[in-house]
Symmetry: D2
Subunit: 348 residues, 4 copies
């Protein structure tokens, strides 16, 4: 039984971690920490989940967590890196769900996050956590920077087509639509029900901090420098991201070759489900509440482009679920442990 704790357990990703780890057959949840609500009972914040977990929320004190096998940081960016620094060496593995450790250097962080990096000495130290594309270094990892929500679904959607197209494509266009939970649990007029209801809008166009993360990851995967235009949108729903990736290029693949390329890359990946667009397309409803990423690659004849549709639950495959998947891989557990039944039942 691996002993774990969660820092930032009062937020939405943190609460999903509580749910997943409290039911994980190979893990025990030893402590839940959060600065703002320290002293409260966790089940009073999440009364619907009191049957899953009850416990007092503690302030974050690194020494009190010393000796644990794994600590999950579900903190806002800016606060997370220093917590990671304080825990390193004291616990077996730190899994950071924030964006603090995803970019390569302090200057890039400053440009996109608009602040000085709180622990620049950690940059370059963390394993980037997107297991289907970059899984090789995970076993035994001591510091993992979990991929961002938009970055996860975008990279999973784009990577096989980029690899297939060789060097012809350099421009990647990504638009994505998210529900409100991605913005976190907070009082904010712009996120109030009366403001979001009935609205659809793009936000942070040209300035979203996942843009460089996506460009960096896809360039690494494809082995060439890519330019990424990333436009996030907010829609009036709570959970999920629908991402649409468009790749131009000189030669269009045949639809079956394209789908075949995806099948090869994700062969054996338990959380990627491929849809043949001739039959159906992914939808957020199909992945909400799960760790799945559903993908469908489409050949758009009229546009002379490849369009890939991807959907995830931003709090699970985009945050807490992926963190548990990474935890499983780091500690040599089956990848699906605590995230799926170990076997699927079915009749003829």
């Amino acid at each position: 039984m691996l002993r774990t704790a969660i820092v930032g357990a009062s937020g939405y990703s943190g609460a999903e971690l509580v749910r997943l780890l409290s039911g994980h057959p190979g893990a025990s949840l030893e402590a839940v920490c959060a600065a703002s609500s320290a002293g409260d009972r966790w089940e009073q914040l999440y009364p619907g989940r009191e049957h899953l977990f009850r416990g007092e929320i503690r302030p974050f004190e690194p020494a009190a967590l010393a000796g644990l096998d794994a600590v999950f940081l579900a903190l806002p960016h800016g606060a997370s890196a220093s917590a990671a620094r304080d825990l390193r060496g004291r616990v077996g593995c730190v899994l950071d769900l924030s964006g603090d450790l995803r970019l390569p250097d302090a200057a890039t962080y400053r440009r996109w996050y608009g602040r000085e990096h709180p622990a620049p000495e950690l940059l370059g130290e963390a394993i980037y956590g997107l297991p289907e594309l970059f899984g090789e270094s995970l076993p035994g990892a001591e510091l993992i920077s979990c991929a961002g929500c938009y970055a996860t679904v975008t990279q999973l959607a784009a990577a096989p087509a980029l690899a297939m197209q060789g060097s012809t494509t350099v421009d990647v266009v990504v638009t994505a639509i998210s529900g409100t939970s991605g913005a976190g649990r907070k009082a904010d007029l712009a996120l109030s029900f009366s403001e979001v209801f009935g609205d659809l809008r793009a936000y942070r166009v040209g300035h979203h901090q996942h843009a460089p993360e996506i460009a960096q990851g896809l360039s690494r995967y494809a082995g060439r420098e890519l330019r990424v235009t990333f436009v996030p949108h907010l829609a009036p729903t709570e959970r999920g991201i629908a991402a649409t990736v468009v790749l131009g290029g000189q030669e269009l693949p045949a639809a079956e070759d394209l789908l075949g390329a995806y099948r090869r890359v994700y062969d054996g990946a338990p959380f990627v489900r491929l849809r043949d667009p001739a039959e159906s397309l992914p939808a957020v409803r199909h992945v909400a509440g799960t760790n799945f990423c559903d993908l469908a690659p489409v050949v758009d004849e009229a546009g002379r482009s490849v369009v890939v549709i991807g959907v995830i639950d931003n709090l699970l495959k985009g945050a807490a679920g992926q963190a548990v998947q990474l935890f499983n891989l780091a500690f040599g557990l089956p990848e699906i442990r605590g995230l799926l039944p170990d076997a699927v039942e079915g009749t003829a």
Copy 2:
């Protein structure tokens, strides 16, 4: 007082036409027709609007409408072209809100609409109705094919940037998010509340019938052949479209030059509002219930692209409102008549 009628008055666009024409200072609404609900009272279908209009829904009989100044067709595609044919010559002007008369020839129609064109002799006869970009032939027009909802916002968003970029761009990427009212008023499991709530999804990827309309219009405006990738999405809201247009290109304009180009094209256009993206971005909430199209052109440095955000109310600027705007222009009325107060009041 111009005498008008609406065919297809039981649907959502038709009901918006009833609202607009019943309050239009220069028009009288002489008849409301609809096949499926003929014999019913219109105000029983729309009890919230009984203070605006009361009347019996009649079956569509072309002869009964003879002599009217204008007839608006808010019918499904496939049913609209034959109604237009039957009315031509009998009434002053036919305004067709369907897609039946937007494409250039029967083969293109067959490919994208999946059926034989019901009145191919009309193809090429109708004036395409998107007044901000193609307004010159509207005065005196006898047959107007109103631009589609996605096609309206996309062309308004893309045209100035395409014209500015000269011949460098040939690939246009458009993604758009729509509420459910665009699919019309009908019983359909896929559009039921229980299925749409909480969902986000792309649909008809590579197959939507507005793709060739957009490509045709933008190519005409820009004066060169463009390729358009168009990906529509459905979001859990009732009204509005948020469209995002991405244009690659060798040289990026300066932000102020880009915004200046938009200001020049839409100078004097009462229903286009430009937003400086350094200050704010368009949102569906700002245009819902109005005939406005709000636009913001953004220079995306990281992606080396121009991104233009556009929003409309799909039932107004994307359908009924634009039809009334076209009606005004065809008959020489002020463009805003019946759509906006004639003057805007304000204090210091």
Copy 3:
């Protein structure tokens, strides 16, 4: 042209007042005031309405408004009464949309609002503004306390049946469902989209400040002391209230007699629409965006009760619309001026 101003113009009710008064044929809007956003431009808070009104938001200074014909106070309770006190005598009429002046004495106010009354000398001075039931004192009124949103729809729904039943009923049960805009424009975790989406809940059970207002108004109308159980609920929508009033009693009326009683009471009331429940029932969609209150009285044979269903738009008939209706009546204008077209057009 009556000269008016709005204090609290940055909130949702205030913004509806701006919309209504800027288009009112008999009023000019001379100033918009708000403490929190003084110095901002109003149209930057409400960019979708910049075609209706543009102007700088000023701090509230009573002297600067001296001499105006009417001032509308759309302030939170607690802040409104002192503003009313400072304006009295300086302007022709003060219309207070808050709850500060609705209850009879400071002790009752303290019990239900949980604070000391800020201007107890005004209690008993204001005319209670619910024109369909208590309209006689409105012409020439100098201080009007507009009825609350829940209190408006509940009293309109209950009054005729209570009057009809003579002295047999003393217990009134009211449950009501509201959208989120009733809580005002503010940053509040409990009202954030992620918390409200998918939720349904009762709140302030036994403690809502509209309970005594309803009991007081209905007792006054019915001429006997009534006990009211009032249970408000929050639902995931922005606008509107659906209220359900249940009255027990020894003898059930016939359905046609019940409906007849409602027709008599609301004969000539332009904003009350009666629905025969044998044909249709009220729905928030039918009144959203309007000043109407739709009502349907039902005889429930199995429950031996009278059930009355009522719906309003909480920001209009429940706030800004009713305030303009009261303004019209206070100044001798037609009741519907600025709220409805002066005449309704229709064909046979």
Copy 4:
């Protein structure tokens, strides 16, 4: 391992049964049947759940199910009773989720369901399935009529207070708000997203078929004849019911005595959670996705009434979850099996 099947597996309650039974440690799911989609693959209807169950949907043939331990009928009323008749004697236990077997006689059924009963010989044969209040006859039951969704939450909310009040109360007022999934999976204009979004409305006032079920159950529990006024409402959400029960009466209990009565009745009931209204109130968000019913009894001093707030997930505690709970009790399994983890983990 108990062998089970589901008839009506394509609807929302049926799909929840598939989810629950496919993961139930003591049950195997041998067949899924549905008339309308026979021949299709179940996982194509519910692609988001293909990791839980895959199988072909078969037509319902009673002989093919002979010998199974339990068959769940998730059929529309009118179709369910004849299926129950055809299965009786052939399988160990039939659990009917429809309303067909809940009322006492054919005349009552005709009055409220508006049709002749399809198998009147079964009336009075079925055990009524609401285990917290009527659990004594469940072990070994061969035909169970699961309580309706509104009826479940209402009876759980009202019963302890009614029992406590002795013979003083005869009038029970119930209003309830439901999401759309209660109406089932179907194409219906009135349930389309565009019609439900932004709406709130009461429906079937005085005519809902759960009214007599509630009156019958509460009268049986309280031991005296009660009159129930029941008013259901539809709100724009997918899942859940919030019910509000108001009981008048000569003497009001103290708040702690009232809560104490609820604690006694539900002591040991694993799916009823009591909330002290001085601390918090139930909310649909807290029970969505679970088999819990959360309750809070409130003493309303001003109204001289007891108000009880109750919430459930209509597809779980109101349908599929309760059916599995009843299945567990009928076969002597732990009540929570397949519905909750067998133990709850927590730290200090």
